[in-house]
Symmetry: C2
Subunit: 431 residues, 2 copies
């Protein structure tokens, strides 16, 4: 059992620091090239998708179950059967589903860009005509959500996560008090990077809460609904039904994709919104495209005739991913647990581990790792404007590297955390 560092003498801290520095230098001298920075599927995971590549390989094979020639124009909304599948994944009626291209991020950007140009249901004017637009951002969160806000000039308000969603007292207070707060981002299942699973209670509060902006819009990024690591699937909560019950059917727009089910670069995405929101969006959407890539829709449909087929596939991913998460967790536990200078989550699904280190040391740790050949997500990336106020969160993405690499990476990382932590504590004492 390790001793909490705050209870150590300066001598003990110096000894630990020296030993961590030694370990760190040993790794640094190895000339490593490791990367835990992005949630990229590994080649082995991508290999699972080969059956997607083996379908739709001849002219005869291009006809959808309902008789659509997927090579030609048509089917603006996407293939009926794929809309049905996504409706089960997102828990919304299939008539609400529009199939997109390879990126749900694009659908998110487009949604907010349209809001800027035209507003959402219940908007008094286009958002670009408002003096200020603000969004609630549960943090740490997905950096690319914040990039969209920044590009469109949407001011961001950071709200902490609790494990089952954001601090709802704070969310309710902000939403109720400020009409410029037009919406928020949520990743309801296996949040990036904290692994939060939004509870039914949290979702009910989001559905029912008062919002000063009548057009308050929750961007529901359901990127990981079935992305289990422990083999169990989350009991889905019908958020859309809650919204209807609450009298706020237009409050949410839903997104999902197969980027982490089949191919990061060659999957299919979808968006779902209420009739009132679709009525506003449709003239823009109809101007934007004639149809999406139905051949790729058909490939996915062939592989996934129903939700069970997707779940089966996700268990194969879990079998590849779980040992990777475990090795990182094990190494961090071995080297850091007990010192009281680092904690991390044990996600039940998703793509990330969120590591919390001693305040004001995250940047230092990331720099140390970089100098020794391990690339981590840049400091603050989980926060609006890249500003982690206490400089303590580090996002780890264990999906891409191999087990041995991850072991080395986690050992180096542990040494860096210990090095930066002891240094900080020693310097604090001397002040």
């Amino acid at each position: 059992m390790k001793k909490e560092l705050t209870g150590c003498t300066e001598q003990e801290l110096l000894e630990l620091h020296r030993s961590a520095a030694e370990t760190y230098e040993r790794y640094r001298s190895m000339g490593l090239h490791l990367d835990m920075s992005r949630g990229k599927p590994s080649p082995e995971q991508l290999d699972l998708g080969e059956d997607v590549l083996r379908t739709v390989c001849s002219n005869e094979d291009c006809i959808s179950p309902s008789g659509v020639d997927c090579r030609n124009y048509g089917e603006f909304w996407g293939l009926r059967e794929l809309r049905q599948l996504f409706s089960e994944i997102l828990n919304v009626p299939s008539e609400m589903i529009l199939i997109g291209g390879n990126s749900s991020l694009t659908l998110m950007y487009d949604t907010l860009s349209r809001a800027m140009l035209s507003g959402m249901a219940h908007s008094e004017r286009p958002w670009s005509k408002e003096e200020k637009i603000r969004f609630i951002c549960p943090s740490p969160g997905y950096d690319r959500h914040y990039t969209i806000c920044e590009a469109l000039g949407i001011e961001m308000i950071s709200v902490p996560l609790t494990g089952d969603g954001p601090d709802m007292d704070l969310v309710e207070q902000i939403a109720a008090s400020d009409a410029s707060v037009k919406g928020m981002w949520i990743i309801p299942t296996y949040s990036n990077p904290t692994g939060d699973i939004y509870s039914e209670k949290t979702l009910r509060r989001l559905a029912f809460m008062g919002a000063k902006a009548k057009d308050f819009t929750i961007m529901v990024d359901n990127a990981y609904p079935l992305h289990t690591l422990d083999g169990n699937f989350i009991e889905p909560v019908n958020f859309y039904e809650m919204l209807i019950e609450a009298g706020h059917p237009d409050r949410a727009v839903f997104f999902s994709s197969t980027s982490k089910i089949t191919f990061a670069a060659g999957g299919v995405s979808c968006i779902a919104m209420s009739d009132a929101n679709m009525k506003i969006a449709l003239p823009y959407l109809k101007a934007q495209f004639i149809c999406k890539d139905k051949l790729n829709q058909l490939r996915h449909l062939r592989l996934f005739p129903d939700l069970d087929a997707v779940k089966e596939r996700m268990l194969l991913h879990a079998a590849l991913l779980a040992p990777k998460f475990r090795v990182v967790d094990d190494v961090l536990s071995d080297h850091l647990w007990g010192y009281g200078i680092a904690s991390w989550n044990h996600p039940k699904g998703g793509y990330f581990i969120s590591l919390k280190v001693l305040d004001h040391t995250a940047q230092h740790v990331i720099r140390l790792c970089k100098e020794a050949g391990l690339v981590l997500t840049q400091a603050g990336a989980g926060f609006p404007y890249n500003q982690d106020p206490d400089d303590r969160y580090i996002r780890l993405a264990p999906s891409f590297p191999g087990i041995d690499e991850l072991k080395t990476a986690a050992e180096l990382l542990s040494a860096a955390v210990l090095l930066a932590g002891t240094e900080k504590l020693i310097s604090d004492r001397r002040q």
Copy 2:
């Protein structure tokens, strides 16, 4: 040799009208279901693309020539080799090329939507902050360009085409006199639907002309650069070089796609713009996507290692399309030529025939055809706001139906043109 109808006696007109009505009724009683409304490739043309489907069918086959795993994230700009190919198609440096998804229309919408949010190079403010934004629209033109303008609130000014591009005196005058005129659409090769091929002189005038709006932007929709019908390829004009020579490097944004080279629904598209314009666009683009579908990029690259391969493919398309255009031309010539109530172009490439009928009869002809089971593009569709001022243009799309169907369709159409034309002339005389 037929007699010009304006030189006919009323008796002769009545006789012709009776005979046209008889023919028309004969076709109407046949319960036809024919469609010449959209520029859709035929199943036989789509069949040509089978080799695109037969590549990238295994895990080993997903690596690009320069070593990129096309299944995973990465390569924001698209595959290097495909950018090179499009650079030859568009006559712009390959560094300017960004590969898109399956639709160049989406890239066009996105470009103007970004202009609304942020402006273009040399803009004083975002276009949405201007009191009015206007665009020059050479007409008849592509209806979906106008849909984009309508969706974004861009006012349209129609300018006639001459065969080698728009009436440039008029274009120069409008662009020079009005700062709210922020740009124009052009389809420089085989314009939809007139088949115009922009001459070098027209393009030089577009490059060099003065424009009151410093951010005047030409949307160059090069949808049909190699879409020959007669087997000859247009000598490409280097418009971008002209723009640089003219000191207006930021004046144009270029678009193309393989929608009518491989699959209407499953091709790849591209956009090219100057550094100054890209600098403004990039924060939005980076917020919009991580990468596009590189698997589909790779499929296309396998099929088209170079421009010659594309040209070879286009000759196969021409072999399927040319007889279809010929049969429509032949039937129209047989039944209408000489009466002086209809003229049409003989396109060297592209997807359309533009039929010009007696003033104020186009809507009537289209309605007659519809009632007899032949769907044509809706009246006025080639004009801003669907307003063909003289109600005389009908767009014919002969690509999709079979030869026999086209013969029947063109015969019915001829009868309808003659029926509406004689009726109009008779009624004019009686007034």
